[in-house]
Symmetry: D2
Amino acid sequence: MLKNHRIKAPFFEIGPKAYLFGDEMVSLAKTIDAVARKYDVRVIVTPQYTDVYRVARETENILVFAQHMDSLPIGRGQGSVLPEAVKAAGAVGVMFNHVERQLTIAELKACIRRAEDIGLYSIVCADSIAEAQAIAHFNPDIIVCEPSELIGTGQTSEVEYVKATIDAIRAINPDIQILQAAGISNGNDVYDVIRSGAEATGTTSGIMKAADKEAMVEEMLCALRRAWDDAH
Amino acid sequence: MLKNHRIKAPFFEIGPKAYLFGDEMVSLAKTIDAVARKYDVRVIVTPQYTDVYRVARETENILVFAQHMDSLPIGRGQGSVLPEAVKAAGAVGVMFNHVERQLTIAELKACIRRAEDIGLYSIVCADSIAEAQAIAHFNPDIIVCEPSELIGTGQTSEVEYVKATIDAIRAINPDIQILQAAGISNGNDVYDVIRSGAEATGTTSGIMKAADKEAMVEEMLCALRRAWDDAH
Amino acid sequence: MLKNHRIKAPFFEIGPKAYLFGDEMVSLAKTIDAVARKYDVRVIVTPQYTDVYRVARETENILVFAQHMDSLPIGRGQGSVLPEAVKAAGAVGVMFNHVERQLTIAELKACIRRAEDIGLYSIVCADSIAEAQAIAHFNPDIIVCEPSELIGTGQTSEVEYVKATIDAIRAINPDIQILQAAGISNGNDVYDVIRSGAEATGTTSGIMKAADKEAMVEEMLCALRRAWDDAH
Amino acid sequence: MLKNHRIKAPFFEIGPKAYLFGDEMVSLAKTIDAVARKYDVRVIVTPQYTDVYRVARETENILVFAQHMDSLPIGRGQGSVLPEAVKAAGAVGVMFNHVERQLTIAELKACIRRAEDIGLYSIVCADSIAEAQAIAHFNPDIIVCEPSELIGTGQTSEVEYVKATIDAIRAINPDIQILQAAGISNGNDVYDVIRSGAEATGTTSGIMKAADKEAMVEEMLCALRRAWDDAH
């Protein structure tokens, strides 16, 4: 966890994964950049490693994060993602333990500490309340909660699970910021999750699969701003 | 294997692995670029993913290769190295199966085909003659040979193992180019391996750990040219 | 590859994977044992590691193989499958590189050699002709061919792909035995693949998902015998 | 975590890893069995998968644990270690997340739950206080603590780190039993760690590399009994 570097709420994460790259990625990043400024919201964007430099260089407001990095030190490591290289390219943070790139417990702990040591934010994915609690002991800056065990049970409202994860994580470390991701597919979804008490949310497919990606960025970030203002 | 894209001999591979990144990487790449032109030799450089764009953009003669990529298609895949993203960043090829980033047989086959389909060179590492033969069936553009089973046996000369690997690979696919890597630590080593019959060689630590990296680039590429001219 | 240990044709492989275990596994193994003797055919059975000892001890004709093993030497290695332990439990061979348990090239090579050194048969899975050729360079005792690239193309008959894989492997090492697996679900399938020129075939789901496993063992091994006699 | 199945203190874990197998493993297990009864202590033994059945069958007092298992359900899974197969072979528990066999967070959570569901003890390794706390949220029956961050700092006594880990884990779940492993190489080491407040300890190399393994089992289990009696 970085000292004195709390991200100002509300914030949002847009994850291009392997959907978008190169010129189209840079172009969308510029749109996100402008819309983020317009609504005064913070947006984390996680491009492919090869696009980190360009996205960081051609935007001003976006928080560029790598999709992953390894904990190795400078030296050997063909095919690795070196923390210092990620930072030198302009990233300010890194995502860890996404369900598509899971880490062992020891490696996650090492990665979070490595990020902290060189001045990168760490944002870590958790797919249950127990995982979120476990991860909280390693003091990442942000935990992404998508508590699969509660989704779809019918008897659980969004408000309840947002509250449950917040309480669980804060009981361990109240300084960890929490991003609630739960199948966000339009502005209404963004509005609802923020009104449920979240300070942040995000999406991949909601924007990557939208017919008009730029319009969806506008819709979601506008809703983020409006929900936050209505709630506070 | 790309059609009609044979790399003109002699050529050389410089692998920064996780030793070098950012501005220093770009700076060394510019030196390599100039020295490669001076001696009319081809040089493959494999920077960290995050440096591919910068190195490709700021050099003219270097063949920029990624240190690895995944075979996944455009879409999901957090933390992946998407082939299309690697190419869009300016890479012209990719290295596979380095001992520090080994692949399963099925994934190696898929990666080589993926590279071919989008127009990237594939260079694949093999640590024995049997491995080199096995890999040759997947038709990569280049195989890196460092036959550990022969090194250090005493009764095997460099000339013999260079010849053995060349014969073994050519018996399967004579179009595959072969890079002989064997603890190259100075210009004399470069000279000797090329005089042994190789058309290419390379190094990581020989340059990365050199007191003066730029001087070592000059020494090795000069030796590469001289050995090739003396041999042909 | 073991010396002078060719398995007498025709032979068959039954792979319980994680479908069957404990008393039911032992019971089915006894049935297989009796049916194999009745029809004078060789049958490889690959139980869970924990069942190797019991199956080996309570049968006489079955060739008990482990589902996988690691190449590590005696010593450290929590959670490993030690080759010497597999052999001590009564296994006579090991399967490698099943699509559900893929190996890197270097590890596959090491495993085959390790098996040979301690006197275990190695049977290696290949899902294309190129993979089968690649694997042949490591000299396993048996290669399992299920050339996915040819299946379902319509224009390719079973006879043709069986012949193509046999020719491809024999061109590299004519001593490797070849098992043709291709969606065997009943005795007719067994009959057809053997009449196509195969000396061996096998199944998992054909028996594991049969309403009456024991009856299916009888049906398949009977067809194996009949096809072989009709063909030779 | 199993209900009402607390292991009676003091207890001990002997991990053969890949050092011992077959007849020698069974022979040592019989000695451990007799010595455990003599001193009225509980001993967990974790043989190779292939030896689980024999060790379980030929001993009476030993708690036989597998060195690892996978979380997969009955069905496909070549090369897997099926939980139901481990139990059917006679194991009463399973070890997870040893440094030589690390798990992702999601897989560890799934494995512990799978063990609980079919009635197997789970014992999970943690190499720091933060890891032990994280793992405690998944409610294993036992956590193995070897807090590498405290070892060798000079200023930290064994008494202190034993106490620190106990406190940290109990703050999360007081029902988790704790095994303190810290380079146990003879009876004195066993005595000291138990007198420091531990209810359990264990070793691999202390016994596996002993000149006389049986004598060392006697020495260590005797010290375990004596330390426990002196402390309570």
